[in-house]
């Protein structure tokens, strides 16, 4: 089983639109995993049926049962996250600030602090418009533990791939370099970096590449909107050469990506022959890399 993970460092480079186009080309054989759980958009293009939906619980949030509280203040003393305050003489936990470390409950002499395991999101198993399978999720707003939900999505995708005897998982990762990205990358066979030729595109590519190097993963890069700044495109290509990253494709700036999106379509489902050809070629290059 192979896992291709698409990430971008910087947001808005076209990662999801491009991943969705690949998923469309791969058809029913593919298991698609949307690991951008914080702002998941893939479902807008792939028409999932949400056939199975499950709640996801993770972490802890402290709650003080007022009846037994003797107002000793120990919880307030030990909390490093400003999550406990005294309101009208009562000790109260602010769930937004609570990190879920459980320290307060451990020192409470009357055992009056309980730790609730909150529902932090939902995950879904769907059949999508290609008749392929997609595992996706929705993280509750403000929730912690996005990395754990990403791990859940990936594990479910692997399980279903095994059950259905499928060979390929395509993962839409999240932006940044923090825990959800690290979680997206675990177990990857090949990483596709989507970037754009801008000062920030190059900067974020360099940082996210350091992360990939830490994991020793082979990688390729797609430069989207490459004609917006030819000089920066050249600099990106020089960076790729230096670091043995394959240049998978250069795609032109084209607002028809957005047009397709407003129709709920991937770009390869439209009449855009030039972009379709480039994306087909890119998908073939990626597949050659993992075989």
């Amino acid at each position: 089983m192979k896992e291709i993970v698409v990430i971008s460092g910087k947001g808005g480079t076209g990662k999801t639109s491009i991943t969705a186009a690949f998923a469309f080309l791969a058809g029913s054989e593919l298991i698609l995993a949307d690991c951008d759980v914080d702002a998941a958009d893939m479902h807008l293009l792939m028409k999932p049926d949400f056939a199975i939906s499950e709640n996801f619980f993770s972490g802890e949030t402290a709650r003080i049962i007022q009846d037994n509280c003797i107002a000793c203040g120990k919880c307030l003393d030990v909390c490093r996250f400003n999550a406990i305050s005294i309101i009208k003489g009562q000790y109260i936990v602010n769930p937004v600030n609570c990190e879920g470390c459980g320290y307060c409950a451990r020192v409470c002499p009357t055992e009056t602090i309980v730790n609730d395991i909150p529902k932090v999101g939902e995950w879904y198993k769907s059949t999508i418009k290609t008749q392929g399978t997609m595992i996706h999720a929705k993280l509750n707003i403000g929730a912690d533990n996005s990395g754990k939900l990403v791990a859940k999505v990936k594990n479910e995708a692997r399980q279903i791939a095994q059950d259905l005897n499928k060979e390929l998982i395509l993962v839409d990762g999240s932006p940044g370099i923090g825990c959800p990205v690290v979680s997206s990358l675990s177990g990857a066979s090949f990483v596709v970096l989507v970037t754009e030729p801008s000062v920030s595109g190059l900067h974020d590519l360099e940082r996210v590449y350091q992360l990939i190097k830490n994991f020793n993963l082979p990688a390729g890069c797609i430069i989207n909107k490459s004609d917006i700044n030819l000089q920066k495109s050249k600099e990106i290509i020089a960076f790729l050469d230096e670091n043995d990253i394959i240049l998978i494709a250069e795609l032109p700036y084209d607002e028809r990506f957005t047009k397709a999106m407003t129709m709920g379509k991937t770009i390869v489902e439209t009449e855009n022959k030039q972009l379709t050809k480039l994306i087909k070629k890119a998908w073939k290059t990626i597949n050659n890399q993992i075989s």
């Binding site: 910087k10 808005g12 912690d144 999240s174 030729p197 801008s198 920030s200």
Partner: protein, 288 residues
């Protein structure tokens, strides 16, 4: 006044708006801009002021001292993040998993896990006229952005209590780092683009900001691209649209070179003026 600039979706123009608005406001007032997108800080690529100072930022993590340790295993039991593990005859600490709650350290009966500082990133202060720019940069390999965001906000409160505008360029998304970057602000500007992805993620961002009970308004970037669904949504939800920035290839090109826009794009200057007017009314209300 603290203003956070956030968006659900990445790449909708948070940094463009933060940097341009800060530079624009700094033409008349003292402004501090903080790049709180510590995983991928980009504001500095557009501001390029003079470097005033730079300092390492640390988080506190436990370090095992084996001398007095009885290997009782309490540390492992109290750690909710699997950052401390007892393995045969030693205690292993995984600093990147540690949330710095001190439970293992303070509950250890033999004081064998003192907390020590570990570098997680770097904070730099730049100056460009009236504009003070604070950039925090998380070390690659560090997984948690929240402690660095929180320390950066503390730094600003200590060093710039008097600044008229404190602008926070927040990270994308709706999870813990965004909450950290917006929860103590007086006003939140959500920037979006008029596309299905933009609208979908805007709704999540609105839900997030409403859950924090913050006043907020919307700026539409790349106006003219996509469709009218974002505007319809704002009207229905009674959300103020503060300004619109047009969709233009010229803007994308200037952005790609790291240029500020408002000197060259009159529509951008106009949008910033509208936002400034809105904000100054809020400042007056705050004083009243």
């Amino acid at each position: 006044m603290r203003i956070s600039i956030a968006s659900g979706k990445g790449g909708t123009g948070k940094t463009t708006l933060s940097t341009n608005l800060s530079a624009f406001l700094a033409e008349g007032s003292e402004v501090v801009l903080a790049d709180l997108d510590v995983e991928e800080p980009n504001s500095g690529l557009f501001i390029r002021g003079d470097l005033i100072s730079t300092e390492h930022k640390y988080k506190m993590v436990p370090e095992w001292k084996e001398d007095a340790c009885t290997l009782c295993g309490l540390c492992q039991k109290v750690c909710n993040f699997n950052a401390v593990i007892r393995l045969a005859n030693q205690i292993l600490v995984f600093p990147q998993l540690c949330h710095g709650c001190y439970a293992c350290s303070e509950l250890c009966p033999t004081e064998s896990l003192p907390m020590i500082p570990q570098k997680m990133g770097q904070l730099s202060l730049y100056k460009r006229g009236n504009l003070n720019f604070v950039e925090s940069r998380l070390d690659v390999g560090e997984e948690q952005a929240v402690p660095l965001i929180s320390q950066t906000i503390d730094y600003i409160d200590q060093h710039f209590p008097e600044a008229k505008y404190k602008i926070f360029d927040a990270p994308p998304g709706t999870s813990c780092p965004v909450i950290e970057a917006t929860k103590d602000s007086d006003f939140v500007i959500l920037i979006t683009e008029p596309t299905p992805f933009g609208l979908h993620d805007l709704k999540l961002a609105v839900e997030t900001i409403r859950s924090l009970n913050k006043p907020f308004g919307i700026v539409i970037n790349r106006d003219g691209l996509g469709n009218d669904d974002v505007i319809e949504y704002c009207t229905k939800q009674n959300i103020s649209i503060l300004a619109k920035i047009p969709n233009s290839r010229k803007i994308a090109e200037l952005y790609s070179q790291g240029e500020l826009l408002y000197h060259q794009i009159p529509e951008m200057a106009q949008a910033l003026k509208e936002i400034e007017n809105y904000l100054s009314k809020l400042v007056i209300q705050e004083l009243a």
